[in-house]
Structures are given as C-alpha cells and as structure tokens.
Symmetry: C2
DNA sequence: ATGAAAGCGCTAACAT
DNA sequence: ATGTTAGCGCTTTCAT
C-alpha cells in the first residue's frame, strides 16, 4: 500500500522526454542540452526524486550493505566498535546489517548464510567463542565477498584483520601485577583456540619467565567465558589454600564474575587480591574499585575494519592485510597495593 | 568481480525448460509435472539456488529491511532492546539496519532520510533527546512507511509505541526513598519535552504529594543528559547546605555521574545519600553499591516493537496502538539505609 | 502442462 | 542531442 515513490518514468512523462534523457540529465551528461538538464534537475529536486536502490542494486549486483557479526551486541566493547564501523561506512554511502551470534557457532553460521543470501557487499566479523571450524567463512571467500575479522580472528593467511598486540598487552599487565607484589597469579581466560586467548596466555607466561623476582606460582584457568563458569572457577580458587593474590581476567564478563565473587567472599580488591584485565574502557571506570586494564581503541578498530572492507570492495579481492592497533595500559585502583 | 550467483535462468538452461517453469516448480505450482518439479527442486538445492532479494524487492517494492534508530548504540539499554528487535524480526525474515542518532536531531533527521531512501519496509525509533520537532517523522508517515516508537515517544495519536508506566515507576521509586528516610530529595533529569522526563517528574511529584511524613524538601534539576552536565549539577548540590539526602536519577548516564561525584566528595551511598534511578538492569548490578532501580524489560520492549511493525506491514497502515509493558522495582543497597 | 512476454526502475550500448 | 532497446532476476498474466 506504500505511496509510490517518484521514478524516472514519472519525470520523463512530466517533462515530455524519454527516460534515458532524464537519466542522463540527472548525471550531467554532456550530450544533454544544458537548459533541459537544468529543468529536469529542478523537477527532480522539487519532486524529491531518489533513485531506487533496488533497481540500481539489481543492475550493478550490489546492495551497498555490509554485514557485521559480533558475539554479543549488548557488550559495550562490540557496540562501540560497531559505532566506529557505522561512522566510517555511512560516509561511503554503505549501510550495515548487524547480527549477533550470541557466542554460538550455529547462530554464526546461520547469520553468515542469511547475510550472504541478502547479497551483502562485504562482511565484518568477530568470531564466536566456540567457532573452531571455519567452513562458513571459506564459503564467504568462495563467493568472493570481501571479509574482515577484528579482535578474534582466524584464517589469517587469507583474510584481512584488525587486531591489537595481545601478547605485549598481557605481558605488560602481568609484569605490572608482579611489580605490585603479586606472587600467586592466576589468569582466568577462555577457550584456547581463540587467538585472543592463547596470545594473552603467551604474554602472561612471557612476563612470568622474564621476571627476576620469585618464587612465583602461576596458573591458567580456561572457562567458556560465561559469568557462571568464571564464578565457579573463582569459588574454587578462593576456598583453596594458598589463595591467589592476583588475578588477570581475559575480558569483561570474566572480570565482573571475579569481582562479585571476591566481594562476596568478604575479600577486598586490591588489598587481598590484585585485579587487572582486558576490559572495556567504559566498564573499567564504572566498576569499583576502578579497574586496571588495557584500553582498546574500539572506535578506531571499527573504523579500520570498515576501511579494510571498503578497500577490498574498491580494489577487488586481491589485497589482504593485518592492521595492528595500539593499546594503552591504564593503571587504576584495582591493581595498586596501598601498602607496598 | 563477485562470483555470479546461480539464477533461475541458469537452472532453466540446465534443465532445458523455460524460466517460468522453473519459477513455478520451485514454488510447487500444481500445473507443473510432479517429476519435473522434483527434478528442478533437486537441481536448485544442489546448485544452492537462492532467489535474488534485489529482484524480488524490485518486483514487490519491498526490501524486507527494517530501520532502527536509537540515541546511542553503546548504551546497554538500547543494544539490549535491539537484540530483542533482531530476535523477533529475524524469525519473520526481516533484516535490521541500525543507525545511531547520538542524541542529536540533525543526525536523526539524516538517518530517517537515509533509511527512507534505502526503501525500508518499516522504522523503529527511540527519539533523540533534543528531538523536539517531528517533521521528519511526519515524512515517514507521508510515505506510508510503518513507524513504531519505543521508550521515548511522540506523535502518540498517530504512531504505535511501546512504553512503560513512567509515572507509576517514578512514584514508587520516590515513595521508597521517602520510606527509607529521605527528606531532602532531588530528581536529576533531562529536557522536559521528552515524555520519559515529564512523566517521571510527574510520578516523583505525585509521591511527594501523597506522602504523610514531612516536612520534605524537593527539587528537580533538568540537565542535557550528558555526564558533564549531570556532574556539574551534582557538584553544586553537594557544596550547598543543606545537602540532599536522596537523589533520583533519570537514567544510567546521570546515575554514573552522580555516583562518581558523590564518591569523590568523600560521601557514601547510601549512608549520606540514598540513590535510586531508572537504570539498566545490567549496570544496576555491576556498580557499587548495587543500585535500586526499575527494571525495564528491554528484550521484551524490542520484541514488542518488532511485533507492532510486523503487524502494520501485514495489515496495512491503519492500526496503531500503544503497548505498556510492566516493570519491576528492584530494591538494592543504594537506597536502603542500614541505620533506620 | 509449459512458454512467451511484460514489467518492477534503472543504465548503457546502440541507433538516429 | 535525444530516443530505442536490452538486460539485471524475478513473478505473473496471457497465450498455446
């Protein structure tokens, strides 16, 4: 029942010329009479003519829609990155269709398929935590649809990506904890097939190897990145003896669970346990005590991912590169021991 | 450069029949020979044929895309609602294109226009805080594109909406503060043209009028909903005498600013100042002390908005209704005075 | 039971 | 300088 939008044909009949003349006039084709051109443009303006993107899309086989798949839209980290993507793509006249995988491969696979069916012009993804197989992304490549990963990546040899230096970040963060007196460290993290997980674990261990103080006990606990799973791990840690005196959390979910659990055990941060992690800047400053964490340039990550997609669309599939963005270590109350 | 997707024509030539036969076979048209139908369907399946949505869209003049405009994508409240919208629309085979107005009308107007140009089949909006004029939404109505507002609404007589009972919520919250000993209340809120603002203020005042205890001093401060503006208001309140002993915040942004400011003045919540607000469930439980707040059924709000849009699309423009969803008051540490 | 043709809105190669 | 035509992928009416 939609009110019909004005078309080229409408303009053509109104002016009394052919459709192609109108089409040309609207794009200032040199062949068309200047006066006619002016007249047609004025009419188009007045009638508020907007080319039908469906028709254009059909003709050019492109939708100007970029798909974006994230593990969870409600996580500030991701929504912030999406804002960056949107800001950049809007300028280029692209739209984004967002889909949340809810950290599950099945949903991710489904989303990829849906988006492919929609005929997106490109796809930007942060893979779900249990996404071990990569078939569905190979399919994207098969269809020659530009693909870019960010933060959590895979198929690195074939796909462009935007990441941060996880190893260095984890190393610095761990070294900082040690400097602040940590001697019984625990790193609570996720499933090790994720690049962010094993890279951060690598940095964590690197710091342990490089330190000259000692002795230091250390442990890495892999969870499924759910609050429950992290809380459970914490409960076990806190009842065992000796209790850890510093915890490195791999992301916000884990950090929240850790904090809650520590507090409900009547322990204090940082007095009893130092805490630091890879957390969103926003949450790091909202929670109490404020969290020592690594600041990800979320908006920038989004913009870079968008730029990579645009590059691929414009220059054809060929290129693929990896952008490594800088992070900043923010030392806050959660990891600085008053009495040391 | 995209690898060509398989089309009806491809299937037709391969089977040696006409395009229309293939088209019919694929939708089990009774006229087509059963064996032929089977054969064609099998081939389509094997070749992984997916109808081109662009072609279908052009034909039917619909995109199966719903636009969603929110004041800020990175706010948990909105991203959570969007997740609800997505969950519901996905089932119906619709996609959503999200746009963030960043609380500014100009961006909102631009987004509306962009989305309209994209030929969306419907639009779901939570208006920006400085959105006083409604012309751009009238335009949506002019184009007979289904429109639904949620949370912050306008044009109520003409447009469907999903809201909560702000008056009752604010009244209950305020009454609760008074019950817990509040005698010098302040309500920090936003610009009063927003329905959520004046409705909540109304509830706040209703509670004050209905209370039998007294005397109670009260104040309403309008900010522009930015952290800075709220923080500034707080600073003035805290240095003046007598200091308020209870604050009702209108949303998360304001709550965060309030908390920070109170803490940095060396005051304690709830000992010195009671705090309650309309905050996202998620943040209410993450911050310290945990915040007494009204729980919005965010996912449900999203789903309802999506359902309203679908209804309008299916049944034509005519209908418009208002869905009022239930909220729940969660009493937590921030508003319960230990010594009372 | 199947095919041919028109049309959705637009562009571009090919007339004139 | 302007018009005609074909075609992007699909559905549907109208032949046959």
């Amino acid at each position: 029942m939609k009110k019909k939008r004005i078309t080229l044909k409408d303009l053509a009949t109104e002016v009394g010329v052919s459709i192609s003349t109108v089409s040309r006039a609207l794009k200032d084709h040199p062949d068309i009479d200047k006066t006619l051109t002016k007249k047609i443009q004025a009419l188009a303006q007045q009638k508020n003519y907007i080319p039908n993107p469906l028709a254009m899309g059909l003709l050019r086989q492109q939708t100007r829609v970029i798909g974006v798949i994230v593990p969870d839209l409600t996580t500030h980290f991701y929504s912030s990155i999406i804002t960056g993507i949107e800001d950049e793509l809007r300028l280029a006249g692209y739209y984004i269709v967002i889909s949340s995988s809810k950290e599950r491969v099945e949903k991710e696979i489904e989303s990829v398929q849906n988006l492919l069916n929609l005929r997106i012009d490109g796809l930007i993804v942060c893979i779900a935590q249990d996404s071990e197989s990569t078939e569905h992304f190979e399919k994207v490549l098969d269809h020659e649809v530009p693909l870019v990963f960010f933060d959590r990546v895979c198929l690195e040899r074939k796909v462009s990506s935007v990441v941060v230096d996880n190893v260095a970040m984890a190393r610095d963060l761990t070294a900082h904890l040690i400097d602040n007196g940590a001697r019984r460290l625990v790193h609570i993290t996720g499933p090790s097939h994720l690049n962010i997980v094993h890279e951060r674990a690598e940095g964590y261990q690197k710091a342990l190897q490089q330190t000259t103080v000692g002795p230091i006990s250390s442990q890495i606990i892999h969870t499924d990145l759910s609050t429950e799973s992290a809380a459970k791990a914490l409960r076990q840690l806190l009842t065992a003896e000796p209790r850890p005196d510093a915890i490195l959390g791999v992301n916000d979910t884990v950090i929240f669970a850790i904090m809650d659990e520590i507090k409900s055990h009547g322990l204090s941060i940082p007095k009893d346990i130092l805490l630091a992690g890879f957390s969103d800047e926003f949450h790091a400053r909202v929670i109490e005590p404020k969290l020592t964490s690594v600041a990800h340039p979320t908006h920038e990550i989004g913009r870079s991912a968008a730029q990579l997609i645009l590059e691929q669309i414009e220059e054809g599939q060929a290129i693929h590169k990896k952008i490594v963005l800088n992070t900043a270590l923010h030392i806050r109350a959660s990891s600085t021991r008053q009495n040391s």
